[in-house]
Structures are given as structure tokens and as C-alpha cells.
Symmetry: D2
Subunit: 473 residues, 4 copies
């Protein structure tokens, strides 16, 4: 899937407790997580109980500069990068959410998606609660505040909140004296703990811990809550029944290859997926393996290693592309893929190509890449997806869209090959994918492949929030 925008509800969080220059560290940590969200970003710092927050639309470099980081003084911080979801540019939804309540202040940043957001929101509204945005982070924050009233501490309120919110969440919360990290009992989304000198850091991916010069300690476990206060870290078991079912899409697409998630290296897992794909398609004869940059590269390497075919540079990506405004609406749709991904005629001409992509969602980009490779002289193109076919909606924050747009729904691989113009098309089997990750100690959620969801879903679709009755433009 070379089109990053088709799956777009991911986010990244970073936190640090007990240090100086926390805003700069958080900026650097988020910078290493920028691939997880480019719509908006924000940092909240805690300076002896006063929480200052800056957030806005755009990349980190759009929202922050040296001056604004200097103004964000404090000894702990949390930060967030965010994808806006399908057309959701609601400015109020930028995180962290920073609020004040009866017993003090609170800032929240989270990655994931709740399945009972609508019910929670309705409950809060029925009690007179008011919402400024449409995001789930505000719902989590309000729930925590409501639980705080009858609780002795923010961690007690956070624990109760974990009992109330359902779905996927890797959450950071900052109160005047504490930094809390929590992960849902399925462990859908990653969350890691590291140390930077004497300070604890938390990050969606270990590459952010590396970026700040820290040392990775361990993951926050599914169902675990961790509290840092006065430089000491305490682990609290939420007591919620744990059913570890990690989102495989972190490995397939989202995470940076240098991150280690749940003890499994992302690059390693992708190479293994490529290897398995090669084994499953050993009958396909070809001359070269070409990976779709950037996310198909690791799997292509694995495919090449396993198959013995040369791993060839067949597509060159324009690394400035994220910034251009040239849109297909200008009647240049046919050339768009060339601006973005130029096929290397010199390397593919006269060759039978195994084209490895990380996944096939809508199939439109795949079709254009296949066509471009043929124009460049490839005699055969066999499209291989290192992800199994998506056939079911995801409710846990991957942004995998509804069944109506998923190309793999109700189609055979032969039909799909014809649709995208490939000589053949294959997906990795979900059994192979599960096998790789489970053997590595990481049981996965298979819902988007099988429709078998690891937690109970709400009976009806959650309309309320998606009405978006208020839009901040």
C-alpha cells in the first residue's frame, strides 16, 4: 500500500517524566514518530502543576519552532502526532487534550479507538457534560475526571477509567504530580518504556526512545498501568481480563522498521512475511523481486532471500512528494504515479517481476503501479501482498475502511489480478501471518481478515459522534 492516506487513523504518543528540556525531548521523540500522524500534533508540559499546551494542524515543523519549545517549560511532558481520519480535520481534536477540573489539571494523549465512545459520550452528556470536539481523547479525559471525584488519586481514577473504556488505547495522562501510561487489555496498540538518564520515557515505538538517546526497558503490558511520580515508576495491574491480540498492521505497515514492538522487530517480521509469501507462491516463476517503496521493501527483501531471486530497485520514490499540491484533478492522473514512483526501465525491461507491496486495500494504486511497470518493459507482473486480504472493517484504529471499498471483499485472487492488471496476485495467508507473530510471542487480532473480533462490539453503529455536529474549521 503505497498510498499512505488510505489507512489513516493511526497516531503516535510520547511522554517523559522527571527531566529538564522535556519539550525538546518530546519534540525529538515525536519527530521519530511523525510517520504515525501528519495531520496535527501537540505537546503539553507540566511545570510544578501548571500545564502549558501547544497544538495545531500540520507537521511538527509547522507547529513548533525553537521559540515555542523554549516557552514550554516543565519537568514532564506528553506529546502526540495524529492522523485525522477520514476527512476529519476538526481542529479541536488535536491532542493532547488539556483540561482543568475540580481536583486539578489533566492532559491526555492517546493512540487507538474506543468501541463504546458513543455510549460514554451520551452518558457524560446526560450528566451535563459538554464536548468541544468529536475525538475520543476528550471522552477519555472526561471519564477520568468523573471517576476522579470519587477517587483518592488520579491513578485510582485512571484504573476505573480503564474499566469503563472499551477498545484500543495506548494512553498517556499527565496530572500535576504524575505521569501515567496505560494500555488496553488486548494490547492492540504498542507502548514502550525507556529511560533517558534518570527520566522515564514512553513512546508508541522504540525508535522514538532511540531518537532521544534513551534506552529501551520494556513494553507496557496489555492491561497494565504504569505511574511515574517523584522519579519512581510503579506498575499497577488493572485486573482486567487480558486477551493479548496485537494489531498485525503495526508490523505490516504502520511502524518504522527499526522499532521493536512487543519484543518483535518490525523489519524482521516484514522479512519473515516476505519469506512466507515466497514459500506460499513458490510456483510463480519470475526473474526479479521489486518492493514498492517504502513499506514493501522489507518484505521484498525477505521474498528475494527465500526465493533466491535478485531483489532489484524497480521503482524510485520521489522523497519530496509528501509536500506537493499537484493533484490528479488536474487531468494528469495517469502521470501521477510516475511523479511519485518512477519505474526503472533499465532494471525491469524484459523481466518477469514479483512486485511486493505491504498490503492491498482499495487496489487503485496497485493498478497504476502494475501498469507503470508494464510500460517500463516488464513482461510479467505478479503482485504479492505481504498482508492477508482485508475483508472486514477494523474498529480498533487502523483506519481500514468499510467493506464497500475493500477490493478483496467477495473477490478471488484471479478476479483481483484481472482488476489490477497483474498476471497473478497473491496475499499472504492469515495463518502464515499469525504464525510468524505468535511464534515470536505476539498473538494477533485477526478481525480484519476473518471478521472474528477479539472483543465485543456495540450492537449498533455509533452514530452520535460521527454526526460531527460541531466542526472547527
Amino acid at each position: 500500500m503505497s498510498n499512505m492516506r488510505s489507512l489513516n487513523e493511526e497516531c503516535g504518543v510520547f511522554g517523559i517524566a522527571g527531566a529538564q528540556d522535556v519539550a525538546v525531548s518530546t519534540y525529538i521523540g515525536l519527530f521519530a514518530l511523525q510517520h504515525r500522524g501528519q495531520e496535527s500534533c501537540g505537546i503539553a508540559v507540566n511545570d510544578a502543576g501548571v500545564i502549558s499546551c501547544r497544538k495545531g494542524p500540520g507537521l511538527l515543523t509547522d507547529v513548533f519552532d525553537e521559540k515555542s519549545l523554549q516557552r514550554l517549560k516543565g519537568t514532564s511532558a506528553i506529546g502526540h502526532v495524529r492522523y485525522g481520519g477520514d476527512g476529519d480535520l476538526n481542529a479541536e481534536n488535536a491532542q493532547p487534550v488539556a483540561i482543568s477540573h475540580m481536583k486539578g489539571n489533566l492532559a491526555i494523549a492517546y493512540n487507538g479507538k474506543l468501541v463504546n465512545a458513543g455510549a460514554l459520550r451520551e452518558e457524560i452528556e446526560m450528566a451535563g457534560g459538554v464536548f468541544h470536539g468529536t475525538g475520543h481523547s476528550e471522552i477519555i479525559a472526561y471519564t477520568m475526571v468523573r471517576e476522579r471525584i470519587g477517587s483518592d488519586s488520579i491513578e485510582e481514577a485512571a484504573l476505573k477509567t480503564m474499566g469503563r473504556i472499551k477498545g484500543a488505547y495506548s494512553l498517556l495522562a499527565m496530572s500535576p504530580r504524575k505521569l501515567i501510561a496505560a494500555r488496553d487489555p488486548n494490547g492492540f496498540r504498542p507502548l514502550s518504556i525507556g529511560m533517558l538518564d534518570d527520566a522515564y520515557v514512553f513512546a508508541s515505538e522504540t525508535c522514538a526512545i532511540d531518537a532521544v538517546g534513551g534506552v529501551f526497558l520494556r513494553d507496557v503490558e496489555p492491561g497494565e498501568m504504569v505511574v511515574v511520580e517523584d522519579g519512581k515508576l510503579t506498575s499497577i495491574d488493572s485486573g482486567l481480563p487480558v486477551n493479548k491480540s496485537v494489531c498485525s498492521f503495526e508490523y505490516i505497515y504502520f511502524a518504522r522498521p527499526d522499532s521493536i514492538i512487543n519484543g518483535v522487530g518490525v523489519d524482521w517480521s516484514r522479512r519473515e512475511m516476505g519469506r512466507a509469501l515466497a514459500r506460499e507462491n513458490s510456483g510463480v516463476s519470475a526473474d526479479i523481486v521489486v518492493g514498492v517503496p517504502d513499506s514493501g521493501r522489507s518484505a521484498a527483501r525477505g521474498y528475494a532471500e527465500e526465493s533466491g531471486l535478485p531483489n532489484t530497485l524497480g521503482l524510485v520514490k520521489n522523497k519530496y512528494i509528501g509536500r506537493t499540491f499537484i493533484q490528479p484533478t488536474q487531468g494528469r492522473r495517469e502521470h501521477e504515479v510516475r511523479l511519485k514512483l518512477n519505474p526503472m526501465s533499465a532494471n525491469v525491461k524484459g523481466k518477469r517481476v514479483i512486485l511486493v507491496d505491504d498490503s492491498i486495500v482499495r487496489g487503485t494504486t496497485s493498478a497504476r503501479i502494475v501498469s507503470a511497470l508494464r510500460d517500463a518493459g516488464a513482461t510479467e507482473v505478479h503482485l504479492m501482498s505481504s498482508a492477508p486480504p482485508f475483508r472486514h472493517t477494523c474498529y480498533f484504529g487502523t483506519g481500514i475502511p468499510g467493506q464497500d471499498v475493500l477490493i478483496a471483499v467477495n473477490r478471488t485472487e484471479e478476479e483481483l489480478a484481472r482488476l489490477v492488471g497483474a498476471d497473478s496476485l497473491a496475499f499472504l495467508s492469515h495463518e502464515a501471518l499469525s504464525g510468524i507473530l505468535e511464534e515470536a510471542g505476539c498473538p494477533v487480532c485477526k478481525a480484519c481478515f476473518t471478521g472474528d473480533y477479539p472483543i465485543e462490539l456495540p450492537a449498533e453503529p455509533e452514530k452520535n459522534i460521527f454526526q460531527k455536529p460541531i466542526r472547527m474549521l
Copy 2:
């Protein structure tokens, strides 16, 4: 008072119900109210129940352009321009506040200041309410939402809210189907009603109704609530005991001279203050009258007319000044007044000058103007303030500061003259001021002159809100 920033808690509101192009009309209306607030601004529109809002720091021209106005589609709108108060640049405090709650959506914009904001906030927080900013508008909005739960309609909730909030407010509220305008029972701040074709418009000053090409109908009365629904306007008496005590500072300084507030023309009132000042100081011999631009000009004209002295252009204002970043910190403080207000040597040389300013708050700018006029050759400078001396804090939104910085506190006019370097100094008597406005049908609040507050103040200062525990940078 030529330094506009020394009194800075004013705001302006504009609303329109039942029209097309409401965002453009609101932009134009606010543009005519820009003098009431330059820190931030915003517009919320209502499109068949969906409320869209855009707000941000800066002038209207900083926050809006043609594109953003086009995106704000709807058939009713409310807008706001805002002064940030003393250093309060909290981005979350920009108005309108747009929220969603159990029974729908709500957008609020208001001008004024509550005296029981702290108590209300505490009450809401104790019930689990959470605040994103530190402004009173959020408190009003939350109160209205809480009252909405037990009410049959938004106007019932608004009426109950009027019974709960104390202080100065001229308020616009927009629900999915209605636009509500309300004014506190003292009528501290202005609020006018006009018509633009078939639509009703509301504005802090009539000059905004003129700017959109509308026709002024009448003021919202103290203690009155007005509701527009389906193109019809209904007046509702809040039943609260009315004690009309209009803020005289609207006439002295805030309002545009072409506005008519509570039936009294602003320019007329200023000329009358100048005339009264001349009568009260008939013993002062001089050659010319010079008004401090811009706000001292009308009073200077009145003084000249009454005294028979020529009204002379003695100070020329640089009209681009609002935009410069050249600060006195660059060791050029002594020249600053010249960059801003250049004395006209040709007109003042060898002359005894009556210098008319609208008010004297801290006195520092006055001292520099007096000194500049002397440098330009004035032989005598008699400083006249068309406002009485400020000796007491204002709690109703003028931003008149604490007694510690008010130059008139515990000083005689002679002492003050010496302090600012003038040959003499006089304030208009507060009896004269009251007389002018009361005879015109507009009883005034005299609190800042006499310390006699027209409503009960809270026993203790309201600390809670001013702790600013959360800052949006």
C-alpha cells in the same frame, strides 16, 4: 488615554439570523467592531443544526480570508472580537465557544465580565465539569447546558442562566434552531438589534449594523432576552430586577463615535463632555484646544465650541502604528511617543494649549505627550480629561486596573499636574458626566469614580480562575 492597551478587556459581538452569506455579513459586522478587540476573533455559523466555527489569534484579516468565509456556510451566525485582558493570551479563550451536549449544539459569544465566575466554575467542577480554557464564556456555556437538562427549551435554559450569572454580559447564543440575545439587568454593556432585509442582526454597536447595510431597530433592554426562530423575533422579560447602570466608559472611550448606544450618540456625548469640561474650567486661559487622537478628538471639539478657542491639529497620529514591533525596550522610549503622535510645532509653538484626552489612567502616556508639546514650543499645557478620575477597580469588563496603578488615587489635581508635567490638570466631575448621560435617558454606573458598585460583589476575590492552571501557548 491614547494608549489603547491600558484598558483592554472589552469585546465586541455580532450575530445574524435568517439570511444567506451569514459569514461574510458577520465578518463585515465584526470589522466595524474591530476597535473593541484585536487579540483574537471568531465566527460560528449554523447550517441546519451543524455548527461550524473558526477562531484564532489576531485581527479578522489574520484569521479569515475569502476561502475560510466560503467554508462557513449557514443561515445564522455569531461572531466575536476580543481583547485578551492583562497578558491573557490563552488561545483556548477565543470566542465563540462552540460545544455539543446532550440536547444538541450551542455556540456562545459574549461581552462583559461575571462577578461570580469563580463560584459558578467551582460548582460545575464539583459536579464533574471540565474546562478547556479560563474564560467566562465557557462558564456561561456550561451553565446553560446544565440548565438545559431540566428545561424544555434553550430559551428556558438561557433564562435560568440569566438568573445564575451575575455581572456584566451582552450575550449571543446560537442553538440548532434559534439565535438568542441577552443583556444583564444593569445593561452594563451595549447590545443593539437591527434588520438586514428579512434577517435580524445583533451587534455591540450600531456602527456594525450600518456597516452591513442594515437598519437599526432598538437596543436589547437591560434584563431582556430576545429569541429569533424561523425569522420571527420574540422578546422575553427575564423578570430579574432591572437597575439600569450603563458603563460610562463606552461613551468616554470604547465605542466608535458614529454608534448610538442606549439612544445616546457617542460623538454627541463626547462633545457634551468636552463642553462641560470647558464650563468647569472656564478660569483656565489658553490660546488653542488640542485633542489627543483619536479618542480625545470629539471632546476637544466640544471644549473648543464651548470655550470659543480654536480647535487645532496639534498632534498627528501615525495610522500604521498598530502594526509595528519597535518596542521601547530598544532604548528609544523617549522617541516612542513621537513615532506614534508627532506634535505639530507649527500649530503649537508659542501657544497656551488646552490638551484634551478622553481619560487619564496610569498617566505615563500623558506625561510624554505633555513633554512632547513643550518640546514643540507650547508655552503652557493644561491637561483636561473628559472622564472623571478613576479611583476604584472595575469588575464589569472595562479593564480599569487596580488602585495601585491608577494615578488619580489619593492625589489632588495639583499633584497630578506636577506628576505629568502639566501647568494644570482637570478631570470632568462625575456629576457632570452622570448628568449628561442621565438627562439623555441613560443612568450610569459610577463605581470606578465613587466605589459605589451597582450590584453586590463577591466577598473574596475570585482566585480560582486567575491561577490559570492551563495555558494554551
Copy 3:
């Protein structure tokens, strides 16, 4: 003429030699001259022979900030603010022009317009010269460089240049060791000399010398060149035949009222024009005098003084107007004048109004103001122009347009009154205008009134430059 954009070829220059912080002083000086040009601006500084220059489109506050001023280090500087002329947004035409040539560097900034620009440009091009923009400043700079080759000094080259360029120019030139100021033999455009501590300053208007805290010394005389080197000022007579014929439009409209040009106070001259207008129209009966803000105010004061009628605030200007993007193209043309200039019904209702404007060029704005005053209740409106009627093109930089758009061409005052909807319309006679300025020692150019040009014009229109063969967008 309330529409500032209809006459728009003016510029302002400022220079300083022999000081520290020259960029900040030049910024402040230009800030006081911002009314002379808002399209683009620039500052060039000289630091021991190295010339650094920054210029760009927009106001000073758009192009400069503290950082950019700090980078402009030097001991002398020249700066410029510029109107772009009719649609001329050619970015390359921003001044100063900074160039390097055989014998060193040179920066040029000038106010005025040459009448032999085309011939000079052609001559330079025939010798192999190349132009980057279409402005006359580049032509002057190139001419000076060409003269420099056969000259012993830059001042010799500058003198020879004065002999070659014809038309209106008030010119500042900065070489590695010298700052030169020169004024054409007619003295069309103003140029003043002041001192700021030990440094010499030059400015289009004395208000800029005031703004930096300097002391006005004298004007550069028509045909004079002044050189500052090593802190000493030398006057050099160009020897060109002097025919002092100052542009009266500086007094009528361009200059700030607090400036003193050629020994004549601008505000004084405007009041005198108003007085003369009153005398010439003593037969017109009216109740009040209303000046069109801002430039009609001084004349209105004079008219009121002479006629004995009250000078009334009848139109209130929105002081933020310069920044709005709301254009009449949005079908709101009829309300545009109200957004900009609101008639004060309270003051004009039932009154016969003398409406004093500084000039009437195209007449469209006048018509809208007259109509607005009638809507506000004025029973009669008599439009008075403190400038005589423009009937001839100006070639000397006022931007008075061609005869085809000048409303006064071939029309009687009665016809004009009907066109703009006024009860009567009168211009000041050009004899009266000349009389006022000549008695004050300032003989004027009457070309735009009489067609009698004080210097020889080129036989044919100068096409070459206006083809604009290169546009910088």
C-alpha cells in the same frame, strides 16, 4: 479623494549617514513615511563598503522584523517605501536598487518619475546594458555607473547623471564611502535634511526626521546635490538651470499634515486652501462643514473657520480598512462606502452639508459619499474640492491618470454636480492655490490644472518601458 489607491505613484525615501543602528533608524523613518507607499519597501545598509539589502512586497511590518533589522548592520543606510503604480506589481521594481560595478557598489532609492526614461534605457540597452526590472531607479543607477567610468568620483558621476536624467527626482545614493542626496532642478518632490546626534539624515518629509528624534536642518534645494562623507556634509550646485515648480499635490494630498515642505507647513496650507475655498464659495448657504477623512479634514477646518460654520464629524472612517479583503466584486459595492466611511446620521440629519474633500479625480467615491450622506438625512450636499480640477496628465510622479478618466475634463461644475449627485460642486481655483503656496515662498507646477508643463516633455509617449516585457510575479 478618500480612495488612496487612485493616485498611487508616490514614494518615500529615508537615509542616514554616520551612525550606529542605522537599520532601526531607517525603519522608524520609513514608518513615518508609510503613507507615501504601501506596495513594497526596502533598506540597504553600508558596512565598511559591503552593502546589504533587504526588500520585498508589502508594508514595513511585512518585510522587516527585529531579526532582519539586526542582520542589516552598517554605518549608513538608505530606505524606500513605494506605491506600485497602475497595476505594476513587478517585484523587481522594489527599491533600493543595489548593484555592483567596476568601481564598487552602489545603492539607489528615489521618489519621482523621469520623462526621458525610455530614451535613457534605449541608450543603455544599445550599449549592451541589461535590465532586470522596469523601474526608473534601475535606469538612474545604470546611468550613474556609466558616468562613473569616466569620472574621478561618485559625486562627479552623480552630477553628470543629474545632467542626463530629466523629470522629477528626489534621490538618495549610497556608495562604499559616501551618501548622496540630490533633487531635480524643479524641485518637484520634497527632500529634507536633518541631524540625529552627529549623523545626517535625509527624508521625503520632515515627519520622518521627527519620528527618529532628529532635528530638521533645511531642504535639499532644487538642483542641489549634497554629499556626506566622514561625517561631513558638502553642498554641490549642479549648475543646472533651476526653475522651482513644486508639486502642489504634496500639499493637497500626499504629505502628512505635520510635515513642513519647502518651508511651508502642510496642515497650514490645507487650512488656507479650505479658507480660500470658503471665500470663493461664500454664496453657498449651509449648516455644517464635513471633511472627508483623513485628507479632507484640514481643509474642512479652514473652510469652517473662514465661513463661521461648525466643523462637524459627519463621516467616521474604519481605521482597520487598509487590511480587509472584502471587495466590491462580492456584490456589496453599495455598502462598501459604509464599511469604510460611515455617515453620522445624528450629526448630518436635516442639515445642509458642505462636504470638503482634498480632490476629485475619478468622482466615483465622491458620488458614493454624497449618496451616503443623503441616506443619513442630509438635506443638501455641496461638494467642495480643495484642489483645482485635474484636466491634464501628470508626468512627474503623482499618478494623476490620463484625461480619459479625469472626471473634470470637458465638464462644467454643474455637470459634475449632477454626475456625483451633489446640489453643487466647486473646485478651488488654481490661482488661489498658486497664490497660497507662492506667497509662502513655494512656486508650484500647474501642469495638471493648466496643461502648461514646466519642463519639455518627450515628443512621443514613452512606450518601451510600459510594454513590461518582463514581469516578476
Copy 4:
């Protein structure tokens, strides 16, 4: 060489003649060349003889948007992306240079560097020429204008100009009716011809022709000039003695891997360099090959193929890095490389690593990467440069700096290994490099390796231009 900024005088050009929408095509073409220059960019279009130009500092997405491209109407265009050279941020040096002269207009964009720029400039200045910037493009333009006077056509003038300018240039010139492309007789810099429907396109690299959807025809030959007029292309032999000596650095570093330059595929040449490097270092035992992203990747692939070692992802690059402002001055220098290039512990731990970079210039980045790999657990690091050692200054536009900073000058490979902390260090031999390219039909310039320059250099260093007497800030 992972630090792109250490070699930074490259540029890219793109041109199109005889089409519609030329600005959009040029934008897209330049977008594919953005890697060749990120300091400034510009596009000039020709609309029936009127040349419009827009240029400025920053990336294409900073300087252009849909609106500005729409305003650039024409039927031919040239464009440029530019590196600013060592600290040269002189705004006037942005290209294209658009000028008007006696016989019309001219726009110039070029890639390269002249060795007789100073002499030419002096000659032009002695003849009265004036310069606005310090770039060579202005010198070329002025030379062409001077030759134009005695020539019958622009192509005759361009031919004469080719006889006068010495050094490296791939040049596009646009006159009112023609588009000219010319390449120096050594062919130092690339320049290709393509077709887009009926229009001819020119580009520094073929990847730009691909990006606009065009078809590559052939290269402009060394010493060749090509003219497009009325849709027809004519080749003109300059008659200058051709000594083909192509810059090998295009293959080593500058060009995109998917470009084909002088008939040689860039990716192919890099893989061959890697293969040759492997053969030359067959004695080095290791476990894995790691390429430094992005430019060391192709050579690493070749090394792996030749050596039989696995090509492993050992360093992950943050693809947002180009935009951050976090500087090593913040005392985080040691972590900087991790923010940019994160070593993959999982892949390198316990491994002996062959680290392949494209080149080693100053050696500082290399040292940090070696150290990072050791921290990540590599037991040995053998640093291999696919370029030979730089020991001599380049005068032809690569930006290879002076001998004082070139780490390879006067040092053995052993000394260098110690300096960067590697277990061993090797450069590709320049004989191997030459062999690869010459066998492919592309004789190279070896000056930076051997000091043997293919053209005569000026006797003395060219001081004049580098004094930068004028700086545009």
C-alpha cells in the same frame, strides 16, 4: 556521504517549448529534480514574447502554489532548482535570470560553474555593466546580451557565448521566439532531451522527463547547442574542441538512481561501483553489508551481490529530517545521528559489518555512523566508499570543498580508519571508477581524485565575485 549539505553547488534545470500548461509541466519536472537543489527555485514562462518569472528561496512547494502556476501562462518555459553553495543565500542569485535588453528579452537557467567568471565579470563591468547578484548565471546572460548586439540571431549570440564562457555549464536560454539548450564541450553536467506530445522538453536528468510523462530522446552532446523554434528542433555544433570528461559525481551521488545520464543508468553504475569495491576488498571478512541511506544503497546492493554477503537494513533514515530545526548546537550532537539515521540493533548486533557509503568527504558523519553501529552491537565496522578519495578541489560545480577540509588529503586508509573509528576503511580506486564509466561510453573527469584538470584553470583564484560586495538578505 549521508550529509547532503556538504556537497552543495549542484542545480537542476528543466525546459519545455511548444505546449500549453508549461508552468505546471515545469513544476512537475523540477519536482523530480528537487534533490539537485533545495535553496531556491524559479520558473520563467514565455507568452508571445512577454516573459513572466517567479522565483524565491525554499522548495518548490514553498515558492509555488496553484494560483501562482496559473498566473505563469505561456507556451514555453524554463525552470531551475538551486543549491546555494557555501553560505551563499544571496536572494538575487535565484534563477532563472530574466532580463530585457536592446533586442528583446532573455531568460537563463544553468547548472554548472564557470572558471573564467571573474574575468568575464570584470570585462563587463569595465564596459559599464552592472550586476545585481553574484551568480554566474547573470554573467552568462550579460555575455549573451553583449554578443547579441553584433549578431543576427540569439543562437548566433549563444554560440559566441559558448566560445567565451569556460567551465561547466548545462544551459537553457529562452528568447521571445526560441528555446536554446547548450552544454559545455567537456559535458561536465548532464542535459537530456525528451518529447511530451509535440513539445520538446529538456532536463538535467531523465527522471524529470519521466515525471511529466514524456519520452527520452537523447542527451544534448558536449559542445552541442540545440534550438527549438516553431516546434522544430535544430542541432548546432559549436565547433569548440570536444573533450568529453563527464563529472563522475553525478553517478556517485547527485543523480537519482532512475536517471540515465550519457547513456549510463545511474543505479547500474552505482551497483557496478559496489561490485568493484567488493572485488577490490575481497580480503575483508564480514557478515553483512549495510548501505548508508539513501545514496549508499545501490552500491551496497552491488557489494552484496558480488561478495555474496546479505544486504541488510542496518540504518533507518527519518524521512522527515530535511525539515527539522533541531540543531547540534543544542548540545545534542551525539544524538543527532540517531535522530537522522537509527542503527538497527536487531540486524547488526554481533555482526561484522561492511558499511557502504557513496563517498567520504569530511569524515565527520562517517565517524558518527560507525560509532552508532558499534553502540548497536556491531563487532566490526569496515567502511567502504564507492567513490575514490577526494584530494583536490573541484572547479566545476560539485561543491567538493578545499583541500583543507578533505579528510583524504595526505592520509592513508589506515589513518582514516582510525580517525573515523572503523576497523578498516577503503575507497574505490579511481581506475575502477573510470573503467566502469568509460566502458559504458562515458569518459570522466578525474580532477578531484588526481588533480589533473581537463581544462585550463585561471592562473589566480577568482577573488572578485567571492567578495560578495552586495548581499540580499
